[in-house]
């Protein structure tokens, strides 16, 4: 068993509005002069430390966890799982 | 760090050198924040006895007895941490004051807060602090389900790059369930709540020194956990109801060191503890364990026979706990680590810091500020001045703030924030508590004695305005460094002002806090004593809940004088400082208070609003805005000794109220007031106008008229703060 670090990125579906991201863009980033930035979406990231035999198993365990325990609400969000270490 | 004198004193008391752990413990407890070493002698001036007072200052909270209920009250501040990290600092401030109320075995039922920042109209960092402090208080208070019902926000340049965050909490418990600290040898000492970690090390001494470099102070910030805060409330209340705890104490400033020494000293007992028993988040040295200020931890003293009940309750809520040790009879804090003796020191030595004798010297500026009058004043601009004052952030509507606070949870909030001058919470079907907090740093800077007394008087007026009789106060005294003799002078004078008012009015002080070292590299803050008043209303029908109606007459009580020093009119509009700060005439103020209470008792007034910041003009406008109604006033009928028209309208003289009275009740009101107006120091009153459903506020003076559109007034009052903060 090897230690793996798996990231779970929970992001709202693209057609769902994101007032928080919009505010950060309009009232901070654009006002701060960074006019090259065209859009900001806020997401939530969870970093999981998972013991598994290989990265593939680690990824599967986490994908199952996300769906099983409703780590994300599928009405609202999508969930991307990626192994970053191990 | 201990001063040389303190170190010598400690060695003398011990009869030897302290070891490093003992030294750390004493340093934490002898910090200004925990020991009150500079302020203690002066605080003795407060009168602490009162009709409803059960316990005065000294415990974790003051206690009042009303019918079969006990009300506990406490006030805390978190100025330094909030200036560095406003969200966490403010949130942990709420957490701390809640736990002090829990320490009496009472359930927290209401929160209030007083906030002070720099100029939010010009300074984006002041806006940043304001935004995150409010969010921190909201997130914590809302999560634990304690309503935030009242507060105050003030802005002044002396708070630039800094902020003051005062949080007060009110608790409730049945008379027979009050947990008074008591313990016997062999009783268990248990710490429950979050595990201890390295956060908040040196927090108490952090609060006791001047803020220099923001970044290097980051390690002193504590992380709030309102979920554990809520679990601790529920578990503690179950323990109280099950009667399985003999003493409860919050772990706050100075962590275990201060908690253990203060509790042992109060109990007149000793404690034998093994630090290896404490549940920790990470490996820590014994010193770190003793002074860590990790949040959401409580100490309980439990008799061994009641341990299983205690454990059942903690396990139900899945709150981690560890049995640290047991109570002894020898008065010593006997500290071991994993069986090894580490330190042994008498609790009474740790808990009783030597008084720091500070010098007080009147600052030159107090001698040198003249009585000034504004240049460039144009009588034709009065309407503009009034509109401008309505948008002054220190006066403007704070709806942007209180909508973020859940003020309804608990089903007790009868008069909600923004309705009237104070909040009213229901204690029972026929007992109600009015609460309000007030401060005024501009007045206190220019005249500490009269300014402080004025804060007390204003807070009383606010609870009277909703129909309550003031019955107790807690205060928060906030100043710069006590080592500065000029700052210390302002402290001494402020305490005198508060103590004199309290004694004369017979309103006891049941607790309070002192916060020194509120300075940045730019200098000390203005002296800022804040007063939190509790008022009692003994029947639902006495609560003055209505708003002025069309046709109601407008009566003013009190005398308006040329007291412009520190007024919002002088400071916000004309940017001048003058020494003629409003003074409370004690005899007069008392007579006005009694007259108002008699009117309230007679249920003959429709609505009451007190005159304070912005004077009569702002008070009238606020009444009209709140009631969505216009008014006509003949200014010549206002009792006054003013030399100019703008003074009449904007003076912040004390002891004044505006009353809306239905035509039917007018003669009864006049009759009552006339009884108090007889004699040399009789009160003044006058019917000065009426409310009408026009769309303007009309002030007549001689043959000229000043008119203000109600819509413009509403807009000025309600839109400035949201406009500034929505994009902050």
């Amino acid at each position: 068993m090897v230690k793996h670090i798996v990231n779970v990125l929970i992001e709202n579906k693209p057609y769902i509005s994101d007032p928080e991201g919009d505010t950060i863009l309009k009232d901070l980033v654009i006002k701060g002069g960074y006019t090259n930035v065209k859009s900001i979406r806020v997401a939530k990231m969870l970093k999981l430390e998972v013991e598994a035999n290989d990265p593939k198993e680690a990824e599967e365990i986490v994908k199952r966890l996300c769906d099983d325990l409703r780590l994300y609400n599928p009405v609202l969000s999508v969930c991307k799982v990626s192994v970053v270490q191990g | 760090m201990l001063s040389n004198e303190e170190l010598e004193y400690l060695k003398h008391k011990l009869g030897r050198e302290p070891n490093s752990l003992e030294l750390s413990m004493v340093e934490a407890e002898w910090s200004e924040h925990c020991s009150y070493k500079s302020s203690k002698p002066y605080l003795k001036a407060f009168n602490t006895q009162g009709k409803y007072v059960l316990i005065g200052p000294g415990y974790d909270a003051g206690v009042l007895a009303i019918d079969d209920m006990l009300i506990t009250v406490h006030i805390e501040s978190h100025n330094h941490p909030s200036a560095v990290e406003p969200y966490g600092g403010a949130a942990t401030g709420v957490g701390g004051v809640i736990r002090d109320i829990l320490s009496m075995g009472s359930r927290p039922i209401a929160l209030l807060n007083g906030l002070r920042f720099g100029d939010i109209e010009k300074d984006s960092s002041a806006r940043w602090l304001f935004k995150h402090v409010v969010r921190g208080i909201a997130d914590y208070g809302n999560c634990i389900g304690v309503p935030t019902v009242a507060g105050e926000v003030e802005f002044d340049n002396s708070f630039d790059n800094y902020c003051l965050v005062d949080v007060a909490c009110i608790g409730l418990i049945d008379k027979d369930k009050l947990v008074l600290m008591q313990a016997d040898a062999k009783d268990l000492i248990i710490i429950a709540g979050n595990s201890t970690g390295k956060d908040g090390i040196h927090g108490a001494s952090f609060a006791s020194k001047v803020l220099d470099d923001a970044d290097s102070n980051r390690s002193a910030v504590q992380i709030p956990d309102p979920f554990m805060g809520k679990l601790l409330i529920d578990a503690t209340m179950e323990c109280v109801n099950a009667r399985c705890v003999k003493a409860i104490k919050d772990l706050g400033g100075g962590g275990l060191a201060c908690c253990l020494s203060e509790l042992a000293d109060k109990l007149g007992k000793g404690m034998s503890i093994d630090l290896a028993n404490l549940h920790l988040r990470e490996h820590m040295s014994v010193e770190e364990i003793m002074i860590s200020e990790s949040q959401e931890r409580m100490l309980y003293i439990v008799e061994p026979s009641r341990l299983s009940t205690f454990k059942e309750i903690m396990d139900k809520y899945e709150i981690p706990y560890s049995i640290l040790g047991y109570v002894t009879d020898d008065g010593y804090l006997d500290i071991k680590y994993d069986g090894r003796k580490i330190a042994k020191i008498k609790a009474s030595i740790v808990a009783n810091a030597p008084i720091a004798k500070r010098k007080a010297r009147k600052p030159k500026y107090l001698e040198e500020i003249p009585v000034r009058e504004p240049d460039g004043y144009n009588e034709g601009n009065i309407a503009e001045y009034l509109l401008s004052l309505l948008s002054d952030p220190s006066i403007a509507s704070k709806e942007w703030v209180y909508r973020q606070y859940d003020h309804e949870v608990g089903l007790r909030t009868v008069i909600k924030p923004g309705y009237h001058d104070a909040a009213v919470i229901r204690l029972s079907d026929n007992k109600f508590l009015a609460v309000k907090l007030d401060g005024n740093s501009k007045h206190c800077y220019l005249d500490p004695y009269n300014g402080a007394m004025g804060c007390f008087a204003e807070a009383c007026r606010n609870v009277i305005a909703v129909g309550a009789e003031p019955i107790a106060m807690v205060d928060h005294l906030q100043f710069g460094s006590p080592e500065d003799e000029h700052v210390f002078y302002t402290f001494v004078e402020s305490v005198k002002g508060l103590a004199d008012y309290g004694r004369y009015m017979q309103i006891p002080c049941v607790g309070g806090k002192v916060s020194f070292y509120n300075e940045t590299k730019y200098g000390a803050i203005k002296p800022t004593p804040v007063v939190c008043i509790l008022g009692l209303i003994d029947s639902y029908s006495k609560i003055v809940k209505d708003r002025a109606k069309d046709g109601d007459m407008l009566v003013i009580v009190g005398l308006t004088k040329d007291e412009m020093g520190g007024s919002e009119y002088y400071e916000y509009i004309h940017k001048i400082q003058s020494s003629n700060v409003p003074r409370v005439d004690l005899e007069y103020d008392k007579a006005v208070m009694h007259a108002m209470l008699e009117l309230i008792d007679g249920r003959v007034v429709r609505a009451i609003h007190d005159c304070s910041k912005g004077g009569f003009g702002v008070a009238l406008a606020e009444m009209c805005i709140n009631s969505s109604i216009g008014a006509y006033v003949n200014l010549d009928r206002i009792p006054n000794t003013c030399s100019r028209l703008d003074n009449l309208i904007f003076s912040e003289s004390h002891s004044r109220f505006l009353i809306a009275v239905s035509k039917d009740n007018l003669s009864r009101v006049e009759y009552t007031l006339s009884k108090y107006s007889k004699g040399n120091n009789g009160i003044h009153y006058s019917v000065i106008g009426y409310f009408n459903s026009s769309d303007s506020i009309v002030l007549e003076h001689g043959s000229s008229t000043i008119g203000l559109s109600l819509d413009k007034a509403i807009d000025a009052y309600s839109s400035n703060i949201p406009r500034l903060m929505d994009h902050a």
Binding site: R70 | E408, V414
Partner: protein
């Protein structure tokens, strides 16, 4: 007849005692607080999931609570047609338990909002046990207090909800950006209802001095009327 109402308490729930007070002291109904670890809910005629911050809304409001042992039982009882009301955080728990459709997001203002709002009834009184004393188009005044009260659901489900008349109350003045101003919905069967505003806070005229109303009480009294007991409180 003897009615018993159960109020589920999760770690962090904070409106349980308020709802308890309304049922027990104002409506004089036998009421019990149910700690979330309990998995046997026999004997209750209705279950209320109260407001608050179960698990401090961590990860997402209501999601951790939805996995509590008690929710298995609540799901079973819901299928059997028992009246179940979720208030605010309780509504969020029902959504995360998939007993009601949709999802909740942060209010458009990004801040917590505590204020009274006015709501329009969009269904007939027979739609749900909790609407018995309400009539279509009636206006109710009830306060909201939340940070994540913005309701969202996908188009297909929304159409179904309209078809099945599942949208019970809508805001007359949308305070938070909720889709189609949705404030309160029920399941297809009608026995499970979720409401964002807090009816228990509008059940005592003493607490509503400006309007002297107690519209919220109608929702609780509706339940009692449905259960067949005529309580006059």
């Amino acid at each position: 007849m003897h009615i018993k109402v159960g109020i589920v308490v999760f770690p962090g729930s904070n409106c349980d005692r308020d709802v308890y007070h309304v049922f027990k002291n104002i409506l004089k109904v036998d009421t019990e607080l149910i700690w979330h670890k309990r998995d046997d809910l026999r004997g209750f005629d209705a279950i209320i999931l109260p407001g608050g911050f179960a698990y401090a809304d961590r990860l997402r409001a209501g999601v951790i609570a939805a996995h509590s042992p008690v929710m298995q039982e609540v799901k079973r009882l819901a299928k059997d047609g028992l009246p179940i009301l979720g208030i605010c955080n309780g509504f969020q728990v029902l959504v995360e338990s998939e007993l009601l459709p949709g999802a909740f997001m942060r209010n458009d203002t990004l801040r917590f909002i505590c204020r009274w709002v006015s709501l329009r009834v969009n269904v007939d009184s027979k739609r749900s046990p909790f609407t018995r004393l309400l009539s279509n188009d009636q206006i109710l005044n009830i306060p909201i207090a939340n940070q994540e009260g913005k309701y969202y659901v996908d188009d297909d489900t929304l159409n179904l909800m309209h078809k099945n008349r599942q949208i019970v109350l809508t805001y007359t003045n949308n305070p938070n950006g909720s889709l189609q101003s949705i404030a309160c919905i029920c399941n297809e069967q009608g026995n499970v209802m979720g409401i964002m505003p807090h009816p228990e806070r509008a059940s005592d005229p003493m607490l509503n001095p400006l309007n002297y109303g107690n519209d919220g009480l109608l929702i609780f009294k509706s339940l009692l009327a449905y259960l067949g007991c005529d309580h006059h409180a």
